[in-house]
């Protein structure tokens, strides 16, 4: 039972344009959400997070939006750069009820120069 879903396995974007990666979740108890970036042969690298008390968090070119009613979050990268090409995973947890982080299946982003 996949509690965190990334329905787009891949995305291609031109350099300089906006990349939007989407993530849906089913567990209404989730209250902390993270995005990770992964290059081949490396472990995932933490990118940005958001708690459920917010609907937006921004860090440089990266912004995460959370829509709790729709159980949906998105990661916006603007402007996109070739070095952003990687697999992006979203993850979620329910901090008050456990220690597990549930990951989506990932979206492979390619930024075309």
């Amino acid at each position: 039972d996949q509690q965190v879903k990334q329905n787009s396995p891949s995305l291609s974007v031109q350099e300089g344009r906006i990349s939007i990666l989407n993530c849906d979740y089913t567990n209404s108890m989730f209250d902390y959400f993270l995005w990770y970036k992964k290059y081949p042969a490396e472990g995932p690298t933490f990118l940005i997070s958001i708690s459920s008390i917010k609907d937006k968090n921004e860090d440089g070119r990266f912004t995460v939006f959370l829509n709790k009613s729709a159980k949906h979050l998105s990661l916006h990268i603007v402007p996109s750069q070739p070095g952003d090409s990687a697999v992006y995973f979203c993850a979620a947890s329910a901090l008050g009820t456990g220690n597990q982080f549930y990951f989506g299946t990932g979206t492979s982003l390619t930024v075309i120069p």
């Binding site: 902390y32 993270l34 472990g43 933490f46 997070s49 220690n99 990932g106």
Partner: protein, 113 residues
């Protein structure tokens, strides 16, 4: 500063053998997690340590899998009587406190022939 390290980076073993995978977390990080990632999937939670104790081992698939962290730092994931279905990348992550963002190692690719 050193990140999370994992050894070996690759391990090939025959079905039925015993393997040990090692994780060195970031110094001072009290929380340590093990995940398993199969091809095309996101990391799947196995076990979480807070200090020396396994605070949550609900993700271990069966009793062939066991993990220890005797001194609250290095952890070893042990797999007995390996099966071909155990083939995956085993990721270790650490964090400064429960529920905060996790820092991943590069993983150990286990192949059971």
């Amino acid at each position: 500063g050193a990140g999370v390290s994992q050894t070996p980076s690759n391990k090939v073993t025959e079905k039925g053998k015993y393997v040990e995978l090692r994780c060195d977390p970031i110094s001072g990080h009290t929380a340590l997690y093990w995940y398993r990632q199969s091809l095309g999937q996101g990391p799947e939670f196995l076990i979480y340590f807070q200090g020396t104790g396994a605070a949550d081992d609900s993700g271990l698939p069966n009793d062939r899998f066991f993990a220890v962290r005797p001194e609250g730092s290095v952890s070893t994931l042990k797999i007995q009587r390996t099966e071909r279905g155990d083939s995956a990348v085993y990721l270790c992550a650490s964090s400064s406190r429960q529920g905060s963002e996790q820092y991943f190692g590069p993983g150990t690719r286990l192949t059971v022939t």
